[in-house]
Structures are given as C-alpha cells and as structure tokens.
C-alpha cells in the first residue's frame, strides 16, 4: 500500500470512569487532508475519545491505555506542558457549545490574537491583521467591529464561527470537531459545513468529525467509524458504508433516519430497546440485546474485528446479514 502516512494514529485507546470502561480499545487512523467521521449515539464514547486525544479528559476519567501517534510522538505519554503547546496549535478543536469554549471576559480580538502570539510568535500588528483575515474567511460581517466585541454580543452561529476562526488561525494539522453544528439552525449549519470543506480543500487540514447526524456524515466524510457502547463496530469509506453497511447496528441506524424520499406515515425502522448507559455494557457483543440477528454465540463471546477488504472492518459474528426492519415498536 502506498497510502500516505497518517497524521494521527490511535491504537488500543481505553478510557475509564471509576471501574467503568467508557472507551474500550478503540483505534483509527486519520490521513492527511482526510475527513473521518466518528459516529454514534449518546454515551457511545465518541466525545470521550476526542477529549482523550487532547489530554482534556474530565477529572473523574482516566486514560487506561493506548497509543496516540501524532507527528512522531505518543500523545498518551506526553506531559501536560507539551500537550498544551500542541492544543490550539497543531491540533485545534471545536465543540458543540461555542459559549462554553470562548472566554466570556475577553474580546473576540483578544482571544484570536492570544493563540497567534503565543503559538506563532506574531507581533501585535501582525496578529491583528491575521485575526481580521480569519474573521473574513469564516464569513463574519464587519470584522473590525467584531474584534472589539465580547462573545455575549454575538449570536450562536457567529460564536461558532469565531471558535472556528480561532481553531483555524493556527493552521493546525488536525481539526477535531465535536458536534460542531448540532446546536445550530440548518441554514447556519450549511454555512459552517461549507466552511470546513473549504478549509480542508485549501489547506489540506485533516478533520476528525464527531457527530450523531448521518446527514452531516454523508455531507462531509471520506471515511466513517461507527461507535457503539465504547467500541468501533464498523469502519470504512463513507460511500461503501452508506451503500452497503455490514454491521446490523449500522444498517438499522441508517434505516431509522427519516429520508426525504421514504413513504410518509409508514412505520419507521426501529432499533428495539435503548442505548446502554455509559460503561454498563452487556457481555459479548454489546449490541446483541438489541440485535434482531443475535444468537447465543453473540452473547457468549466478543466478535473479533474482521478485515473485509477495501479498507473496511467490522466486528460482528453475523456481519452482512440483513436484520430486517427491527421491531415494530
């Protein structure tokens, strides 16, 4: 294989909260200029994975093991001081809630300039010019005026754009976007997704996109990794996964999204039961209690991750079989 070396390579990453393992030996690689979507529902561990990569786990959680290869170093073993130098510099992050990520007591201009001056050693003038250019690039009107404003004076969509401007100002190798448009209206979401695509196209930034929204995945991703109950259950190129999902969870998840072309008022595909609480995973295949294809073997032993060719992997004893419509209710 002549694939370029990945910019980010995660292997065997595990995170625990107390005795509960909330992320269980996940691994993936992000190629230069690639958009990889990490998809899953609440509590599946996708956000914990992102926080672990940046060394930003909440106090109650700890990294139990794994390797996070980035630019020749293992971030899992890097001291906090060195991680801090990477964050907002080589790896930038955008979270769902911009108001929680921007400092309410600092002007937009000061927050933009801070990173530029600290990480890129720019002078005051240069940082100001660069900040203006960044705000223009993310489609913010009247950028001069915005630099002097505080986050509370801006709308949610505008705050999200400021956060993206801050994240991009550093020209990071990797952008980590955790539900970047979930809190936004759909017409604003379309603007933000377009902006992220332009960034990737023009600067070759790799994007790890964390989302629960299959529409956003289809719009953005080159490759997809589907998480369920702390593990990646299926991964591969986006077109292949959407056209021919192999894991019953992926299949049912895709079928349970209402589409603009399905029969209105018809019974929708449903996954029986509910998403297990974080860390309270059932034995064997964790999807087995909700899986229409489950058989005794599924509960008895964990499915191995199998390579299917074409860059696809799946962890299921009965992969490729059709789980049907799920249950009626």
């Amino acid at each position: 294989m002549n694939a370029p070396a990945p910019v980010l390579e995660v292997e065997g990453l595990s995170v625990a909260i107390g005795a509960r393992r909330v992320v269980d030996a996940t691994g993936f690689a992000l190629a230069p200029g690639e958009v990889l979507a990490l998809v899953g529902e609440s509590g599946c561990g996708k956000s914990m994975t992102a926080l672990a990569l940046l060394g930003l786990l909440p106090a109650a959680a700890r990294l139990e093991g794994g390797r996070i290869g980035f630019e020749g170093r293992d971030l899992a073993r890097l001291p906090e001081r060195e991680l801090r130098a990477l964050r907002g510099n080589r790896i930038s992050v955008i979270f769902q809630d911009p108001s929680g990520s921007l400092d309410p007591l600092m002007t937009v201009g000061a927050q933009l300039a801070e990173g530029l001056r600290a990480h890129r050693r720019m002078g005051r003038e240069e940082a100001h010019e660069r900040s203006l250019a960044m705000l223009r690039a993310v489609g913010i009107s009247e950028p001069e005026r915005r630099l002097a404003q505080y986050p509370f004076e801006l709308s949610g969509g505008m705050c999200q754009r400021v956060m993206i401007a801050i994240a991009l100002a550093a020209e990071p190798a990797v952008l980590l976007a955790d539900e970047p448009t979930t809190a936004l209206d759909v017409t604003i979401q379309a603007q933000i997704l377009d902006l992220m695509k332009a960034l990737r196209r023009e600067r070759g930034t790799s994007i790890l996109l964390i989302t629960h929204d299959m529409g956003v995945v289809a719009d953005m991703a080159d490759r997809v990794a589907v998480m369920y109950a702390g593990r990646i259950v299926e991964s591969g190129p986006a077109d292949a996964i959407f056209a021919d999902p192999r894991h019953p969870y992926t299949r049912l998840l895709l079928r349970s999204v209402p589409r603009l072309d399905d029969a209105p008022k018809a019974a929708m595909t449903v996954i029986p039961g509910s998403v297990p609480a974080q860390g309270e995973w059932p034995p064997g295949c964790r999807f087995a209690p909700r899986c229409p294809l489950a058989e005794p073997a599924c509960v008895a032993r964990d499915p191995r991750v199998e390579e299917l060719g074409g860059g696809r992997r799946v962890a299921c004893h009965r992969h490729g079989e059709d789980p049907g419509m799920g249950a009626a209710r």
């Binding site: 759909v186 017409t187 299959m214 959407f242 349970s256 999204v257 589409r259």
Partner: protein
C-alpha cells in the same frame, strides 16, 4: 358535531412580548414572536410547523393552549374561542387539547410514581378514581407500549424513550381532540426516535387525534404530517400539502430550508444543487422591514424591502407569502 367543520381555527394570532429596560422600565418595543398567524386544522390531521430558532413556532403552539397569553387574535377549538375564556371555562375547554414537550426528563415530576402522573388529569377533572382510575392508567400504559405494572415506578427508572411514552400516555388520558407536540423526538437518540414516531402515528390511526407537530427537523415533520406550515420570524411564509411542499417548494425560504438538510446518502448529497443562504436569522425584536426574509433572500427586490407580502393561495392550493414566488 359536524366533521367537516375545522377542529382548530387560529385567526390573526399575535404574541408580542414587551421589551423593557430593567424590571419596571417603560416598554422599549416588543418581540413579535408570533405576528399575525392564521391557520385551520381538520379533525385527525397532522399539521407540521417548521422553522428555525426565533421563528415563533413554539410560542404559537403555547399560545394556542394559552400557556402563553396571546396579544390579539382568535383561537377556536371545536368552535369555542379559547382566547376569550377564563377560569373554569378555560380549564374545561383545555381538556380537548394537550401538550407533549421536547424534554421528557423535565416533563415528569421525579418524586411522583408514573402511574400517579398519568392518572392526575383524570383525577383533577373528576373523571375516574380508585379502582377505575387504576384500570384506566393500566390501559393507557399498555396503549403506549409499556406494562400496567410500570405504574408503581418512578421516572428515573426509565430511559428517555420510555419517559416520552409516559408523557404521551398522560397527554392521552383525557382523550383530547388535539395534541400539540413540541419537538417530541429531538432529545432522543436516533435509534429511539422511530419508536416514538411510530407510536404517535399508531395512536392517531386508532384514536383519530389531531397533531400539531412543531419541529425544526424537516425530515421528521415530512414523515408525520399531512400538511406543513413553514414559519420565519413570527409569520407563516408557506403552507401546503406535504408532497406539494417537497415537490415544489415555492417560497425561497422553504427552498433553502429543504436544500440545507444534508441527505443521509453521500452520492445523492454530492449531486445536489444546494442553496446556501448568506447571513444570520434576524432578531424577532428587530425584524427587517417589508418581507422579513428579504435580508437573506436571493430574489429580493425593492418592493420586498418595503411591503410585507400577504399569505395568498397559489395554483394547486399552496398558500405562499412572497411577491416573487410563482
């Protein structure tokens, strides 16, 4: 009861919230959350109400049941004008309509057994008690896919989807003619949403309940609705049959809204012509002059900036508020 008469008629409804400086200051103006909405619903139909934040869709739903007070206009439910009622009369009239909110966690009292929550409306209205109440609660639980034995449990013992079932059971306790569902599946995981949508559709078929289905999610609204009203800054900009709206959206805002939904299919999504609107949604405290959409509209003319378009019927029956739309 005449079946052909509309179940609900809303006429030129306005909800303006005064804007003051400080607690006792003079009013500086008003947020026109709902600004002249007229619509009608038939018995047993589902009307979808879509729009983005600040469009007034939730306020409209709340004002219909007078959870918020309308500033002016009429709300006739089965011929009775709710806007003119008070006290006991209002309480009785409101039995015919119930609400289901987005957050099933906030909608249930955590210290009450769910059977008591579900039975409360029956008890309050003096419709059942004792053994009969117990039996009715059991029947309601079964109706929403739970077990009568669940009545003795507390909300925290249930998942989000199950709690929304409990909320629906309570809304159905008084056999309402109309249920206003405000983002009923938005807080639920994708894999669980279908369960609740299927339940709502099944209940509607069995009971003939009408739904006003308020949501920001156009694909969900399309799935459940017979007709759809699109709101922007306090007004309905388009109201049409579901299929007509998606086949031939006429208002430029409806067109942009539909094209902004990312399709869960990468090949189809890449092939699409998309309309990406510029700019932000204006504040309903300072709506633009003329047509409120003109600041983001690719078709806007001088007339749009000065003159607000009326919601008028077009060929095929759709109602559209736009000077330029065909």
């Amino acid at each position: 009861m005449n079946d052909a008469a509309p179940l609900l008629e809303v006429e030129d409804l306005r909800v303006h919230f005064p804007l003051r400086r400080g607690l006792f200051g003079r009013p500086l103006g008003a947020v026109r959350a709902v600004d002249g909405v007229t619509l009608a619903m038939a018995r047993g139909e589902t009307l979808g109400l879509v729009g983005e934040s600040g469009c007034g869709k939730s306020t409209l739903g709340n004002a219909i049941l007078r959870v918020v007070e309308p500033t002016s206009g009429a709300i006739r439910l089965a011929g009775i004008d709710l806007a003119r009622l008070d006290g006991e009369e209002l309480r009785q009239a409101r039995r015919r309509a119930q609400m289901v909110f987005q957050d099933p966690f906030a909608s249930l009292d955590p210290r009450m057994r769910i059977g008591d929550s579900i039975g409360e409306p029956l008890l309050v209205h003096g419709l059942a008690r004792g053994e009969e109440l117990h039996a009715r609660v059991g029947e309601l639980l079964r109706r929403v896919g739970l077990e009568p034995a669940h009545a003795a449990r507390y909300p925290h013992e249930f998942s989000g989807g199950q709690r929304q079932r409990i909320v629906i059971a309570r809304a159905l306790a008084l056999s309402p003619d109309l249920v206003i569902c405000d983002e009923p599946v938005s807080a639920l995981d994708v894999s669980v949403r279908g369960q609740i949508l299927n339940l709502l559709l099944e209940l509607q078929r069995g009971l003939g309940t009408a739904f006003l289905f308020v949501s920001h999610d156009l694909s969900v609204v399309r799935h459940v609705s017979d007709r759809i009203a699109v709101m922007y800054l306090g007004r309905i900009v388009e109201l049409a049959e579901r299929d007509a709206l998606f086949r031939q959206p006429r208002h430029p805002y409806t067109q942009a809204l539909i094209s902004a939904i990312p399709l869960p299919d990468p090949v189809a999504q890449r092939a699409r012509r998309r309309i990406i609107l510029a700019g932000e949604i204006p504040s309903p405290a300072r709506p633009p002059s003329g047509c409120a959409f003109h600041t983001r509209c690719p078709m806007a003319t001088a007339r749009c900036r000065s003159e607000a378009p009326a919601l008028l019927p077009r060929e095929g029956g759709a109602l559209v508020a736009c000077h330029e739309a065909g």
